[in-house]
Each structure stands twice: as structure tokens, then as C-alpha cells.
């Protein structure tokens, strides 16, 4: 099973507001609000930690969910955010210059 790596796109603005992450695509000014679970994943998206590890270490303990269910939900989430152009998802670690 291949690992997934995630990193915020360079062209975003983001700030944690209480327990929700506010993300803006600076290209089209579209604004997104991530719920608490998604915000935890976003905050840990450093391009080098595998998504499965992020889910296991950050999401599962905090939200008391089944690891595999949480991982599948996380995969769906990151793919959706990638389609919106605010998150980069790759099968390999992501360097800064790759997070266009």
C-alpha cells in the first residue's frame, strides 16, 4: 500500500480560528472552513509525515475513532482539498518547491 503525503499549497492563506482552520485560495479568494478533524490533519501536513501516521498519531487519539475508518475519511478529505487546489497530495514526500 503506497503512502500518501500532504502539504498545503503555496498559494493559500490559513489561520486557526478557535478549533477551525480558515483557508483561502489567494488565486480566486475562495474561503474554506475546515472542521476540527480536518484542521488537525491540515496542521500536521508537513509534506514529510505519511497521512496514515498523521491519522494514527493525531486524529485517532483525539477523536476516538477506528483507525481504518479515520484513514479512509482522511483520504477522501485530502483528495477533495487537492481538487480545490489548496492541498498537495503525493505518493512521495513533498518538498517546498513542489507545493505549487
Amino acid at each position: 500500500m503506497s503512502e500518501k503525503y500532504i502539504k498545503p499549497s503555496r498559494n493559500i492563506a490559513a489561520r486557526m480560528l478557535d478549533d477551525e482552520m480558515i483557508v483561502m485560495s489567494v488565486r480566486d479568494s475562495a474561503v474554506y472552513s475546515l472542521n476540527a478533524t480536518a484542521s488537525v490533519i491540515w496542521s500536521a501536513a508537513d509534506g514529510s509525515t505519511p497521512l496514515r501516521e498523521i491519522v494514527a498519531s493525531k486524529v485517532v487519539p483525539q477523536f476516538e475513532v477506528e483507525p481504518e475508518v479515520a484513514y479512509q475519511d482522511a483520504l477522501e478529505l485530502v483528495e477533495e482539498l487537492a481538487r480545490e487546489g489548496i492541498l498537495v497530495v503525493a505518493d512521495h514526500p513533498i518538498k517546498q518547491q513542489d507545493s505549487a
Partner: protein, 357 residues
Amino acid sequence: MSSLLQAVNEKAVRLGIPLNVHLDVTYRCNERCVHCYLDHDDHGELTFDEIHGLLQQMADAGVFYLTLSGGEPLLRNDLFAIIRRARELTFSVKLKTNAILIKEKEAALIRDLGVEKVQVSIYSHRPEVHDAITKVNGSLDRSLAAIRFLVSQGLKVTMAHVIMRQNRFDYPGVQALAAELGADCTIDPTITPHMNGDRGLVKLNVSRENLRNVMQDPAVLGGDPAKFCAPPPPATDNDLDALPCSAGHSACYVSPYGDVFPCVQFPLPSGNIREQKFLDIWKDSPQLKEVRSIRMRDLPVCSGCAHVAGCRRCPGLAYLEGNMRGPSTADCEKSYAKTGIPSANMIRLGLAGGSGR
């Protein structure tokens, strides 16, 4: 405003988070606009290291929207380093400039750094009018060339058009120019008193008749005058419990010298980041606390005004008139121009009727 943005703003107010900060990085300028309220001498601007530290503090405090302006911000040699640092800290950055120093290279850099929006001051579509206001020959041509560079980079550009006596008939031409260049256009018929308190600049405001023409123009209103200029509804308890504006609640201003104010138009000294941490000023400044305590029902004149439910009274302009709880005559004039109904302040001062202003 989208419902999400409105919810974000409301949450910021509720949590006491300074979501929006306007930071002027310099008051120096390469134009000398006749209506400018600033002192352009450098009295000890924040260094890059100080701004670097301030940006980190603001990010930690929850600031999301960061407007960088001046003066002319491009007169700082380290402006792009400031923007780069701000973007590393994932602020949404808006740049306000006259743009006359922006060529192709600078436009590309602004795009690459991820600036969300650039606002350029344009006073007329006619060079002789614009240049007479900026007192710089060729400034309109240079600003428009910059807008073309910026738009060609895919950046969102807004032309900010301030209406005054000198250009009172030019806003349709500026709107057409903006459409032609692929830019947005905002129109503001308010001239602000000088930051030193001198109200002489206010004489540049357009006449009451000109203001009425602007405020009732569908192209300015963005809709049907019958709807936008209708008499205001009676005030409800919600209207009277409302905040006068976001200044001090989810927004503030920082000067090039580190002074913190509720807003760029509300020069109530509230602290200095060279003496205190930004967040300490934001949370504990007695001045900001006083601003935050004010609701519409606390305004002795305005709370009884027919316009209270729909007025966009600026507390900063009221402060500049001498009382942050008082009326802002410029906003009274706007409400009157839209609806033909004098404000309580105008009735009190006998300002209704005649050519006014």
C-alpha cells in the same frame, strides 16, 4: 460578503481575535496627493527585524487578513522581504499602492509571493486631473501601465477612486477604465481630516448636490436606487445593540512607528509595539476596551436618528470630529444624499437644506 466570511468575522468578534490588521510600512510617498492626511517625513519607521517580529506576533494572535500600505509601500527597499515573511506565516496579504514603481518584474514577484489583491489609487481617467491631484506628472500613465502588468500576471486589482471637488465628474470614466483593464473599482466620496487634526482637507469634499448624484447613481450603488435609497426602517433592539463597526473588535491598524489604533481612520492611540506585545495591546489597551464597550444605543445623538438602522457611521471620523460617540457628519451627509432624510445630527445643527458641506 459570503455567509462563511460573515460567520468567520462574527466568530472573531466573539472570541476577541484581531482578524484584520492594516499595517502601514511607511508614510513616505512619491506622490503628494492634495487630499492626503499623512505626514510624509520619516519619524523612525519600524525596522525589518521589528516588522518580522510583529508579523510573528500577529500570526500568533490570529490575524488572517493583512493589508500592507503607506505612504507608498514600495518606497521601502525591504517591502518584498516583508511580504515574503508575511506569506510564510500564511497571511492573506493585500497591497495598497499607487503602483508607479511597479513594472513587469515587480508584478511577477507580487504574483509569485501570493499577494491576494492589489489596490491602486486612481483619481481620474484623465491624466491632467489625476496628475494634478497626485502632483506628479505622468503618474496616471505609470499607474495604469502597472495595472496592466498586474492584471497580465493574473492578479486581482482594484482601482480605489476617491471623489473630491477636483474629479467630481470623473467616476464613470474611472469605472469604464477599470472594466476595460479587467480591474474592480471602488468609489469613496469621503475626504479624511489630516492626521494632525487639521480639518482643512475636508473642504475638498464634493458639494451636497454632487454627493447626491453619486450616492443615487445605480452604477455606484450596484442596484436599484428605489431599494438602496429608500427611507431607513425603524430601529430595532438588534440595531441598537449592534457594534458601530469592526474597528477594535476584529480589526486594528499599526502605523510605521508601531503605534496601534482601532483603525487607519480612527487615530486613537492605543499602544505601541515597541513598548508592549501586540497581543497585550489588543487585549488590554484601555482605549480599545473603551471602543469595544460602545453599542449603537450608547451614541447620544445617533441612537435617536432615523438612519440608525442603515447608517454606516464611521466612529473614526466621529472621533476626528471630537467625540467617538458622536456623529460623523460625512456619514450623515451620505445618508441624507441617499434618502433625502436629514440625520438627527443635521437637524440638531441646522445643516439640513441648502447646499450644505
